[in-house]
Amino acid sequence: MQANTPARPAIQPRRTLGAQWDNFQRKNAPYIFISPFFLLFAVFGLFPILFSAYLSFQEWQPGSGLGDMKFVGWRNYTDNLTDPTFWQSLKNTVILAVESGLPQHLIAIPLAFAIHMALKRVQSLVTAVYFLPYITSIVAISVVFFTLLSWQYGAINAALVAMHKLPLIGGLFPAENVNWLGEKKYLQPAIAMVIVWRYTGWNVLLYLAGLQAIPKDVYEAASVDGASRWQQFRFITLPLLRPTMFLAVTLSLIGGFQLFEEPFILTNGSGGAEQSGLTTIMYMYRTYYQYSDAGVSAAMSWLLFIVIGVLTIINNRVFGRSGLAGRE
């Protein structure tokens, strides 16, 4: 028992409890306060990333428990790179990302400009309306779009065929029902349309925020100099909106390459006609859950990460550093 022996030689004057507490607070409290983030990040962010990296070098069927992993080197990566379905899924993803990404911005930028310039009073209302699809449940969306796009029983086909019967312009419309979700050439545009519908409002919101950051006096000076609305848009708005455009395009790019819900639901998880709706994330999901091939699935996610990384770098180059800093 050492309870009665003096704890320390009293070289320094002993600090009071309060002072010790103060010192502890100053030194350690910030770490404690910030620790929940790091803990959560470690558990839900870092660990899965590291685990999937580890998994991508193993052969593992998830159903057999953690003990049953087998190291296979780079085989999962070479398997993916020689898998035609992987390349097809990547091609589908690129096509869908472009088909759905471009229109989003081409619609959102002028729309945001129009709302910003003309609809000042009802701006928040209009924005809310455009934003609504973004927060709508994907299940509700799928029910609505199935009803619209259905081959035999869809509203869109019913409307198109009815239009075909009109005099003069009737020839512009198809005489027979179009199999939107059942044929390769229509499936990808149909999926892209749903994505555009869903995310345009989100981009409008981003661009509106960007527009509001542009000082009003620049426009006033331009009006004094006699610049038209179009000239103001072309020479003031677009250049000053570049940082926002960079952000919005980057987000679309990442979102586009992680596309899953819309094609998954619109094709009932099947990938649709000739697998033209199968995105890489869908294929990854299928490889894990249907094929029980966790290693190949993990390797696929890293390959996709590399693709997204490269494209983000290219995007960065296109919009340039000046894009980030807002300088020409």
Binding site: G63, G65, F146, G182, Y289, A294
Partner: protein, 416 residues
């Protein structure tokens, strides 16, 4: 409080506590409609085993199997008894997450003769049996009597052979504008793929794991060819897989003349799918004197379960107790896997939805003709690849030979 009273109370409390302690709580993971079967079974089971308390946790079909996959992979979170659908059984059989029921103390082999023959091989991979069969889905051709009558076509004309199915089908569609002979041409292919297998053959792989899909395999060539003939004759509604929105709508609108499915489809038809067409549907065997099974469910015990003995008691009750199997049939209409349950007089009764046709006798007879099919872990991959290639043939201009050559190459690449 007086001392004797106090003592009595203490004794009572102790007894209650001890009683509560002795009770085993068993968790069961199921998907709909099987959850209602387990629920209905509990009163009967608790009479036999009052010491076992059963808790049911039910998730949607795919969610249940995904959650089970996760629980087995991490070794935590699986229930004591888990339901497994036919489509997933091979996948789980390959891993080590579920106990081998063929071994002691379970010795599931003792019930083998009591259960419909083809189910045991479905649940067994490499000699390891991971699920006890509870219900089965004998395949049947459902047809609309009114539509056939209008075309002057008899049900026997349709199911004589696939060729006569197509030629008579053309008449049915011609006589009933706006209708389709069947929801999707690919269904015909999947039936043909599932029938006429040689002994010891799986659907896509033989016993040695060799890929059977090839442009020289008569079964696949015929399956693809017949499906293409149906599509080219514009007989199908291109509805894709069963339960797709297009499929559902076609049923609800009464636009389908026939559909191939398990006997369980009647339950769906009468409850929501084709409520308005009561008495207009009938059942018949599949075309070409073929017999196939549509799914079926199994119960397994995860290795991580701490109540394996009680779990096995419940599984035995659910699968080998005649009155329980009959009750299950009454509850959801799923066909019992237990043979003696099929002798119950309820099977002699007519099915009200099918205009009181005694269809259950037909299905019972069909179960004895369904051949066991060997399952393989890679079946889901092979099925996906074959389906993709079939779509290429049906929708595009790809030839049957080219599609099967590609399918073979793609499956062989994965089967290492």
């Amino acid at each position: 409080m007086t001392t004797p009273r106090m003592l009595a109370l203490t004794a009572l409390l102790t007894a209650t506590f001890a009683g509560a302690q002795a009770k085993t709580t068993l968790t069961v993971g199921v998907f709909p409609d099987l959850d209602s079967v387990v629920k209905a079974a509990l009163p009967g089971f608790n009479k036999l085993h009052p010491e076992i308390e059963v808790k049911i946790s039910s998730l949607a079909y795919a969610d249940h199997h995904n959650a089970l996959t996760t629980a087995l992979s991490t070794g935590k979170g699986a229930q004591d008894v888990v339901a497994i659908d036919f489509g997933y059984i091979a996948k789980f059989a390959e891993g080590n997450g579920l106990v081998d029921l063929s071994k002691a103390p379970y010795n599931a082999g003792q019930f083998r003769n009591q259960i419909v023959a083809y189910t045991y091989p479905q649940a067994t991979v490499n000699g390891k049996m991971v699920g006890m069969p509870t219900d089965i889905g004998p395949g049947s051709m459902f047809y609309r009597t009114d539509l056939l009558k209008k075309a002057g076509v008899k049900a026997t004309d349709l199911n004589k052979s696939w060729e006569s199915y197509i030629s008579s089908g053309k008449k049915v569609v011609a006589a009933n504008p706006g209708t389709f002979l069947l929801p999707d041409a690919s269904t015909a292919a999947s039936i043909i793929i599932r029938t006429g297998l040689k002994n010891g053959e799986g659907l896509y792989f033989d016993k040695a794991g060799k890929v059977l899909v090839s442009p020289d395999n008569a079964r696949f060539v015929r399956a693809f060819t017949v499906a293409k003939q149906i599509r080219d004759a514009k007989l199908d509604a291109k509805a894709g897989a069963a339960f797709s929105p297009e499929w559902t709508t076609a049923f609800q609108k009464g636009n389908l003349a026939t559909e191939f499915s398990g006997a369980w489809l009647v339950g769906h038809m009468q409850n929501w799918l084709a409520k308005d067409y009561t008495g207009k549907w009938n059942a018949q065997n599949l075309p070409g004197n073929t017999f196939a099974s549509w799914g079926g469910s199994f119960y397994g015990i995860p290795e991580q379960s701490k109540n394996k003995a009680a779990a096995w008691e419940l599984i035995k009750y659910l699968t080998t107790n005649k009155s329980q199997q009959v009750l299950a049939f009454k509850t959801t209409g799923a066909f019992p896997a237990l043979k003696t349950a099929g002798t119950d007089k309820i099977f002699e009764e007519g099915v009200p939805y099918l205009a009181n046709q005694k269809a259950r006798i037909l299905w019972r007879a069909a179960t004895s003709k369904i051949q066991p099919i060997d399952v393989n872990r890679l079946d889901p991959i092979a099925e996906q690849i074959v389906n993709d290639e079939l779509t290429n043939v049906l929708n595009g201009n790809k030839s049957v030979q080219a599609a099967l050559t590609d399918a073979q190459r793609l499956i062989e690449r994965r089967a290492r």
